[in-house]
Subunit: 509 residues, 2 copies
């Protein structure tokens, strides 16, 4: 038989009730609908479709899963936390779901795969779709792989950097000179930033430092700083702190600077791909978006560091400086020793104690951390014009020695919401030498894993305290490091790992 | 304080209770655990960790999501359907979860990204990890992108094909000649296979045909055949059918031939990447695993077909034949018209009726389908040695004319479990010409989408019945096609789509 004409308005998207699943899928925006839901049939949606969720003017792209049974009722859209937050809905709110629009920029990704260079417009489209969450992991991996197979040229890196800046917030400061610093590829314990900010601002420089939390490391600068003061500042608080103290050490996550970067970094890590072009765009887009015009880059070089050879470090430095210049950003790269951790502590509170020791000039302050921090701070002072060329390190040391850095740091912590006392671990256990000999090798990656199993960075007091450095002569059973944890279980897991991985610290006769 | 030594056996994986979520995430193997679950802390697992689930001797890699609230209880592991099936657990069964092992083969993917060719061992490792579900979509996209940026050379295609064969089941037939047929890139309604199998086997050839279900098309050969006879045969039934009738038209999914192929195809589709090397390995690995030694490949060429130019078709043919030869497989490629659908029906039952009309020699049987099927069947007869070179088409036509093909087809259906009557749609509505003129263009992709919105292939009776072909002169309001659906809703959705997409069938004055 011939059916009746369609009811009018069948084009109108069909509404569902939002339900919070309290499902943590990290970045992944997931919507789960019942297999029998009329909207799925209506829109021709099936499991794994990319869909567009709309509610109260906001929209977000999600992956659709379906469920029968009672996980979700027909007419409901159960949302992962990422979906819930980005839509800003409340339990039971109405939302619509339809097929996600076609991703035109994928054609550019495909062209890049086949060896065609991309122009600014193409990269802007790709970065825009990435930032708005329209690229799946597969799309992102394809783009990142294509820009590794045929490395991004300088113009592409510049255009990519610009595109990454444009999709995010941008901070401006009414100061002629705004300095920043960054370390390429974390090195356990290399927590120089708070010291550098204290020294730089104590000498009148403007240094609005935004830092990240740990992603795969046992501590990010923001995690460490958080044991000393609040770091989760909104933009107005951050401005107030910088206006009164000249600088801050805040968590950058709330600033939405270069949001596409976090997405690229996540997938690069998953496919274990590390390309110079992406690294440069990643670092510079964040610095430029943060409003700095002078930046000092710490590039640790070592067998288990991100950059493994002097040659690679030199090439990276040259390209970083060249691309930065295209944005009027003066960059100075410093190659440093990446063969072993810096300071004694690895983990938020333990690193914070190293920082305090250096700032307070304690006799037992780790000399390597003080040396590296003041050397980098000296360069910051020079590029910022607070010290004559060659006189920066001297000024940095004296700023520490006369207590001005410590005073300034306390003022910054107060301005950020009040100084805190880093917590202490309830469980401490030494990892001892299996034999007598000399420390010949330290595996930064395994050391970081050990600190993470101990609970860092979630457990602020957890981590590793080093007792030796490369070259130290040890007797059999002498402690190499102390494992700090907040629970007996975590101590067990960490010690298990250490037992299974004798190569964390290598001893030769 | 210094804590006590760890309890012994802390290395032992910690057990959880399996819970079925009835969550359909297609291929995705998902485990959801409570945020406070002790096992997560114990193993250092967090949301989005790749984990290894083990139960009753089976293991599968999964992605871990976490949930607070009551979605899942601490001590439970709630599983997606893919996880549930692959582990073969029952409600409440004990399972263990731990970090997924390191993916060594990713180093080879990385090498390939940077332009190094891969040898057989490397490709075997990549394909092995893919088939065992250890590659994430990002890993897969990286590998596929790398083999597009620097196209696979012939040796790599051969090694990839071999690796894809080796990870799956392999069928053998005790016949000197086993023929097969495949169409590169679907064309709506191009359902020649059942006719070809009937003609080939009626002439004494062995043709154990395994076909796929639709993935993105309105019907796969298995979906269409299923409206005429059971296709979900286990391997022993399939063997019995082939031994008694010389051939079959079965669903290949149950045979586990080249399982990695389905995974690659899914991601290629997601990133819309189509590389010759992957296509060749995909097609040939399945044919070789199915035990055939002669194959005829139908390559439709047209502006909205998979292969768009004669030149591309020729290159593809040459490479297909060359690689096939490396496996002792004799391939013959036939380039066919891909500019418009074949036959009248698009959708399982509608295509089945076309097939029946051709086999039964009905006067209204679609001539294009008969012509194409007999032409391809003729080539199959020739390569299989059942007809002299040049005499195949003639023999195919006579096998149809004298009813032997129809008789054989009914016998095959009986052997597969009994012949069925294809269902008819309850709702039919014409899509009419907006103007008088000549049919100048038909968009195969939009036509397929229209048939899918009508409900195909899930709704077996649903789809599109063509009333015109390229060149047909139509009057205004004359029907161009009929939309067939099983529900009024689906008719509405399909007609809405047709209204929004006037370009499905283009008419010029």
């Amino acid at each position: 038989m011939i059916s009746q004409p369609p009811a009018s308005g069948t084009d109108a998207p069909r509404t569902l009730r939002a339900r919070r699943l309290r499902l943590h899928a990290r970045h992944q925006v997931i919507a789960i609908m019942h297999t029998d839901c009329h909207v799925c049939r209506a829109e021709g949606l099936s499991s794994h479709s990319q869909v567009l969720l709309c509610a109260g003017g906001r929209q977000v792209q999600a992956i659709l899963f379906q469920a029968d049974g009672d996980l979700v009722a027909p007419g409901e859209a159960a949302l992962s936390e990422a979906a819930w937050e980005r839509l800003g809905v409340a339990e039971g709110d109405a939302l619509t779901v339809r097929h996600a629009p076609v991703l035109e920029s994928l054609a550019d990704v495909r062209r890049r795969i086949y060896g065609h260079r991309l122009d600014a417009a193409a990269l802007a489209a790709i970065v825009g779709d990435t930032a708005s969450g329209r690229y799946t992991d597969a799309h992102l991996a394809a783009f990142l792989t294509a820009s590794a197979a045929l490395p991004l040229d300088e113009q592409e890196i510049v255009d990519l950097t610009q595109a990454m800046i444009d999709v995010g917030e941008r901070m401006t400061w009414d100061a002629p000179v705004v300095v920043d610093k960054h370390c390429i590829g974390g090195l356990p314990g290399n927590r120089t930033t708070p010291i550098i900010v204290a020294i730089a601002t104590a000498n009148g420089l403007v240094m609005p430092k935004t830092s990240s939390r740990a992603i795969t490391s046992p501590a990010g600068t923001a995690d460490t700083m958080e044991t000393l003061a609040p770091v989760d500042l909104d933009i107005s608080t951050l401005r107030r702190v910088v206006e009164s103290e000249g600088g801050c050490v805040a968590w950058g996550g709330a600033m939405h600077l270069s949001p596409a970067d976090d997405i690229f970094v996540r997938v690069e890590r998953e496919i274990d791909l590390d390309t110079e072009g992406q690294l440069i765009a990643s670092v510079l887009s964040k610095k430029i978006a943060a409003g700095s015009n002078h930046v000092v880059l710490d590039i640790p070089v070592g067998p288990t560091a991100k950059v493994r050879t002097e040659g690679a470090a030199r090439r990276l430095s040259d390209q970083l400086v060249a691309v930065a210049a295209r944005f009027g950003l003066r960059a100075r790269c410093i190659r440093t020793d990446g063969s072993q951790p810096v300071g004694r502590g690895i983990g938020p509170a333990l690193e914070a104690r190293d920082i305090l020791a250096v700032l307070q000039g304690s006799r037992d302050a780790p000399a390597d951390l003080r040396e590296r921090a003041t050397m980098l701070a000296g360069t910051v002072l020079e590029v910022g014009g607070a010290a004559a060329k060659g006189a920066g390190h001297e000024l940095a040391l004296s700023t520490l020695a006369d207590g001005r850095a410590w005073t300034k740091f306390q003022r910054i912590c107060q301005a950020q919401g009040g100084m805190r006392e880093p917590p202490r671990a309830t469980h401490v256990r030494p990892l001892t030498a299996r034999r007598a000999g000399r420390i010949a090798f330290i595996d930064n990656r395994k050391l970081a894993q050990l600190a993470k199993l101990a609970g860092a960075p979630e457990a602020k007091a957890a981590g590793v305290l080093m007792e030796v450095v490369l070259g130290t002569e040890v007797a059999r059973s002498q402690p190499l490091l102390q494992v700090h944890t907040e629970t007996a279980d975590e101590l067990t897991y960490a010690m298990d790992y250490a037992a299974r991985n004798p190569g964390i610290v290598e001893i030769v006769p």
